[in-house]
Symmetry: C2
Subunit: 190 residues, 2 copies
Amino acid sequence: MTETAASRGRVVRQRLLQAARELVPERGWTAVSTRTVADRAGVAPGLVHYHFASLQALLAEAAVGALGEMVDGVGALLQQARTPVELVDAIAAEVDRYTGTDPASLLAVETYLAATRDPDLRERLTGVLDDFRGQVGAWLRERGVPDPDATAAVLAAVIDGVLLHRALTPLPAAGVAGVLHRIVEGGDSR
Amino acid sequence: MTETAASRGRVVRQRLLQAARELVPERGWTAVSTRTVADRAGVAPGLVHYHFASLQALLAEAAVGALGEMVDGVGALLQQARTPVELVDAIAAEVDRYTGTDPASLLAVETYLAATRDPDLRERLTGVLDDFRGQVGAWLRERGVPDPDATAAVLAAVIDGVLLHRALTPLPAAGVAGVLHRIVEGGDSR
DNA sequence: CTATCGTTTGGACGAGTGCCCAAGGCGATC
DNA sequence: GATCGCCTTGGGCACTCGTCCAAACGATAG
């Protein structure tokens, strides 16, 4: 069997995915080319179409993977927070770690936009977002926050909106957290 | 004087700007080319670089103009609303008119991302956003809403975040409005 | 040793890119 | 009618683009 060849192939695949995660934020989704991504990964250009059906497929897989990991990160916050106010503070602190111009934030927004032009990507991304809303919504419901699902949806929207705006002009986390406290008022633990 | 020639030139310029407003949402900022924008405007390709220093300059001017008009639209809502809750409802209703995949929404987000790669555009866009925050913040302050500036900033972020998420999966305006009511609680008119 | 397998190479293909510019058009001014 | 000025045309330049593929590679299996 081509044991080593196959494993080396898997490594190359991962490096291409990682390169895509870096380049989409840097240049913009539609400005990433097969040659730049191969160059960043340190492999020959032809390998892109050996490991992936198309450049779009590579970008989509890289983006969905990255966003899934981000949602998992927020999911971890749900485990630790005890009250809705604590959760909001934890989210605000987490979001504050991003400047808005960091790769993760930009990749998320680039992916949203790309999804409006790619039905397959859109469907997969919808799954990720609905998953997030579902997790947070259920958590809020258990703690008596009114309109838990709508609150979770707005919370998710605030996160991305804050990232988007922070890329342009400062938006202190402290102020955001204070305002968001009011959003979860009505729970049994404020 | 070249009265008619100059005026025809101004018309061509406007058509190019309008074409850019349409194409950026359709194809993505970095995927709009001189030829596609000229074709959509119904003019010869060479005219792009006659009326604008570069393709980037055309896109930037088109985008800043469009976003400025949107901010003006929300500014009009400030004139009509009497209480913070009324304002939130008006904003939610206004936002509900956008599906998230409409040209205006996508143009806004595309412009944010482009601004992270173009310092000039970034500066101009920051001006538009700060203008919005300032208007809403002052309005909220007069009506006794706590933390008026932070509230205005979060409100602005929510608008863009909701547009972004609505592009993927439904987000009913009624639920959003209800949650946002809590954000402006504490005013003298709830 | 040869055959076979998945992986890799590097270049070919036609199409599209931003920007530029000589040449022409056309109304206003003299 | 001649001249001037702005606007317009359409093609040229030197690239880059996504995709494909014949040929080579290295390692295992017979």
